[in-house]
Amino acid sequence: MKTLFERSVSGRHCTILPVCDVPECTPETRREKPLRLPELSETDISRHYTELAKQTFGVNDGFYPLGSCTMKYNPKVNEDAAAMEGFTEVHPTQKAAQGSLRLLKSAEQYLCEITGMDEMTFQPAAGAHGELTGLMLIKRYHEYNGHTERNKIIVPDSAHGTNPASSSMCGFTVINIPSSQDGCVDLDELRKAVGEDTAGLMLTNPNTLGIFDKNIKEITDIVHAAGGLCYYDGANLNAVMGIVRPGDMGFDCIHLNLHKSFSTPHGGGGPGSGPVGCKAFLSDYLPGERIVETDGKLAWCDRGEKSVGAVRGFHGNFLVVVKAFAYLLTLGRQGIPEVAKNAVLNANYLKHLLEKHYEVAKPGICMHEFVLTLENLKKETGVSAMDVAKALQDYGIHPPTMYFPLNVHEALMVEPTETESKETLDNAAEAFLDIYRTIKENPESLHDTPHKSPISRPDEVNAARHPKLRYHFDD
């Protein structure tokens, strides 16, 4: 497809602005480089993006069982709420914003109740940003307690890549520990890893294999006994919200992905929102300001010198919080656990259908997601997790997450979410079965899937070796 620049016709334009109604003047030193933005009519722009939209697979284009990403349906009423003028046309520094403040305060109350935390900040703009923020709280806590020697963060090998990356950015050394056979934290390894230099542990529970770690309380106890703090990666909260709370599992601080569990859309890679919650003893360290109520009026209030400062400008991705809050209002007390239970049901049902033909990395009950391993299948047939993923595209299904977690070989991580019907799951199982038949009959044919998409598999090696990262004009 042509780029906007190739569609550009010199002299073409939209008519957007009125003529200037004050005397015009210009700065002394000016830009010399020509401003080569595309010159287009509104029709051109509209058609261009309609075409691009057709080549984009959204949640409403089909089943999207992308593990760890919780691609649930994004309710329209949330979008309506976030488009209200009373939210979009408000300056971040204006005082007269009681509605925004009330919304943030209420969303904080909901999410603290759900997670068992005492206070929360909405400054972080995504999950990884939340991780960094949570780790900052841990760092600050140890600094204030005179324990700067506590500079190591323990991360299981099943962790998401952002966990170790966030730890490094926060100036910590990462201690990777292997998981046990059942995919959970190996308690012996953990006991060996903790010590006087332990700042904390980062954990996802249910873990990235979709397993709820039975020993969770023991895990957090071991870390606490060693003087460390426990960080909860909330990416998988959808499985347990309203059932069990990170705060009760012994975690001291957490981040949530509002763009996962709380139904806000992913936007092709953001904006998200990664609020960070913590227990009271950490709350003075939180970044940004705190909302305080006096005589029924809300206002931002400085947290004082213990605060780590700020991790983003202003108050975070406010409109994303608006969407999540609309969702929380909709669900309420009963809806929250209802969502979790059905997410877990859908995962177990689909796992049951698939495990007749595919090997599950860890048999038994799963939470909201499960991981298939195609290691043996690949040895027998040469068909990889990648091949199966790509083949699924031809069935109108977005592939599961591939090659994650790293402690499973040839992994396909499947997360159906609760917003999919039994029929969708049955159809998906049919597609998997059909692919399985092809694997048995004609494995070679799977190496060049997909066939129905606008392009076949791209040459990624070439892309990295000869980076072409922008359109180049002819002249």
């Binding site: 497809m1 780029t3 939209c14 015009e24 003047c25 830009r31 010399e32 480089k33 933005l37 287009l40 509104e42 722009i45 993006y49 691009l52 939209a53 080549q55 984009t56 697979f57 009423v77 979008e79 009373g86 939210f87 520094t93 204006q94 007269a96 919304l103 995504a126 960094l132 952002t162 730890s167 950015m169 100036g171 039975k214 059932i243 069990v244 992913h266 936007g267 092709g268 890679g269 953001g270 998200g272 991790v311 406010f318 609309a326 669900l331 007390r333 009963q334 969502v339 239970k341 177990n348 049902y349 049951h352 993923a389 917003t419 039994k422 392009i455 791209p458 892309a463 990262l469 922008r470």
Partner: protein, 429 residues
Amino acid sequence: MGTYIPSTDQQKQEMLEQAGFSCFDDLYRDVPEELKLKEELNLPDGRSEMEVKRFMKALSNENTVYETVFRGAGAYRHYIPSIVKSVVNKEEFVTAYTPYQAEISQGVLQSIFEYQTMICELTGMEVSNASVYDGAVAAAEAVSMCVTPKKKKVYVSKAVHPDTMKVVKTYSWAYGNEVEELDLKDGLTDDEGMMEGAACVVLQQPNYFGLIEDISSLVEKAHAKGIQVILSMNPVAMCALPTPAEYGADIAVGEGQPLGMPLSYGGPYLGFMATNSKLMRKLPGRIVGETVDHEGRKAYVLTLQAREQHIRREKASSNICSNEALCALTASVYLSAMGPQGMKEVASQCYSKAHYLAAELEKAGVRRIHSGDFFHEFVTECADPEALNEKLAAKGILGGMPVEGGILWCCTEMNTKAEIDALVQEVSR
């Protein structure tokens, strides 16, 4: 209550049984009993869609929407063409995940590729990433690109946005960099404090007080001392003033909100980052590249992933995963609708209207506190900004931002001459 769960009770029961469970509680057998919530969450009942909409409407009505805005200070009210909203509301763009599956994500990938191109064109730099969380984070991430184990000192001008200062300080504290602030002279960055041995300096154009800094000279001095320059620049100003590349900056960053994003009480906004090819592999975040598919057709993919957390883990250049893709799309559509002439016009109107306001205020006896030229913001003296803003609010005007020594005014193409004249009347009364 609503949950968006489509399966009927009967279907749920069938699924439970088929999967070998008798009831929902069975699904949580692995969760230790003593940890499970014994009571329902202490939260209100769920609501119907109509109730939710009413509730949200009422909340939003508690915010004041000003007819007229004379405040910027890092968040600018510009005109947003209708086509922008229409494109960015397309379900496919709104609901897609990060485009890991290139074959079915060519649309988002191409849109990011086009965005990267436009950021390169605006800044004059060679490579752009696919965005980061906001302008302040972009500056902090740029600092991480410059520091080395041997060079951990970072200068930040006192004239950058206060949030940029805070975020750079916070990130620097976490990573172990040392931040030193550069003093100001007449509102402009004074280079005197800059010493050899530092990794980088963070500057802003126009600066927080709206002033146009002599960036070229600051860059020259920094480079002479082996210090790299991170320039945070307003993208609208880039259409009139010299580009970051023309100024000689090593990394161009900034807040992309003026490019089609509403004020939104502070977010979602857009952090943009661009640099030269030398620093390309240090850029954080997603980058889209053009390649070919197996049949030799043009194809776009996420590339240079060896920098990223999912490959490099603790050795990654940054932890960023989700970014602000939909905001990047917004910026692209905005820039396409405005076109080169439109963007020059926006820049020119911003500059002209701010200068008209400053001149009219001056006539009315309200003086600027700095002498240098400015872009679309400037500071005037003001004895009591809070009181003035209260008076203005009663007229439906959001007044300037209170700052040390006065009040920071802003004009964009949205402010008509009539509004400006009315403001001057109010201020001088």
